[in-house]
Symmetry: C2
Subunit: 207 residues, 2 copies
Amino acid sequence: MTEPIDTKSRILDIAEELFGERGLDRVSIRDITDGAKVNLAAINYHFGSKDDLVAAVFERRVVPVNEARLAALDAAEKSAGNKSPKLEAILAAFIRPALQCSLKSPKGGTAFSKLFGRCLSEPSPQVEALLKKQFEPLMERMDAALMKALPNLSRTDIFWRMKFTFGALHHWLLTREKFVPAWVEATDLEEQTQKLITYAAAGFRAA
Amino acid sequence: MTEPIDTKSRILDIAEELFGERGLDRVSIRDITDGAKVNLAAINYHFGSKDDLVAAVFERRVVPVNEARLAALDAAEKSAGNKSPKLEAILAAFIRPALQCSLKSPKGGTAFSKLFGRCLSEPSPQVEALLKKQFEPLMERMDAALMKALPNLSRTDIFWRMKFTFGALHHWLLTREKFVPAWVEATDLEEQTQKLITYAAAGFRAA
DNA sequence: GTCTATAACTAGATAGAC
DNA sequence: GTCTATCTAGTTATAGAC
């Protein structure tokens, strides 16, 4: 009799969880509707197709992350007055929201990171369009902020270094607890975030 | 009348190409056997299953890359005598072979990079085992070389910075010509490689 | 080793009743 | 908006002839 949350959200929740566990193609729409205790036809009714559902699961996470990034960038710029914010603050505005929002997704963020990885390497047309819409304006804002903070760097260099930073962030989120040998000292997420910011800031400041 | 190359190689070639174009699950084994002009049963005969074929396609590229990395590391260490090679030389030993071998794969390396991305985010058990076997010893060697080059850095810091560098490299290879705005100055691969090495070296040298 | 034929199954999507 | 039932098309894998 209608659970705490509506059908659409239940589908999105269970889909995200199952996609994170098994990967997109090892999860059938039947698996999802069974898990969400909704009817088989509900996915096609509410989303249109499985590909559209995948895009919706992805969108639900990515949109708030990028809004938070823009907000953090605004805040950093406001508090810096008419000077440029510190490079570290700009990078933190990009990095922290991804970590925060990723943590909200199942399995400590692994689900979102895996989905993101898949969406980058094998995007459906729906996902491709979403990526473009979500990241082009964000990257322009990041570029602008970074150009002010690093006036000696060419825009082209900023572009590539931003790409490297994006990759470092994403790969870190994806393999945070995978491929980590026993001898690595345990560090909490805050320390790891700091390490990434330090690394990226130094990379950006390279001659 | 048996084409220039044998059935197994023809399957691997066409599979890599199609996987690169459409993604693993949008390619059926029928698509592959049709494209390779071999019988439908050939994949199961030669490889066992589709998952095994995917792992074989991946393995064919990844093994030579990592061999070349180890060889480049050996060469750098040899030519440095009993001192440590320069940090840039160590990073180049990691970065250059990936680019070189990736270029040999269809579509200027896109196929391999996409496959790599997919294998990182949604590995089958076969691929998971391959990744472990291929990257654990390599990463140990890299760590050892980096510890000698950067004696002030803790092993844990080296580990995380290596992970960031790995992510930067992989994401660069994956999106080299995607999401690149028109205003970015055209640079050839050699320049881009240099940019990555410069960025990563600065990241490693950060205090 | 390679083929044809097909088994055995699962997928996503939809029509139409409620 | 939700359900059942079903359709069509696709999948991997294999048995057995050559």
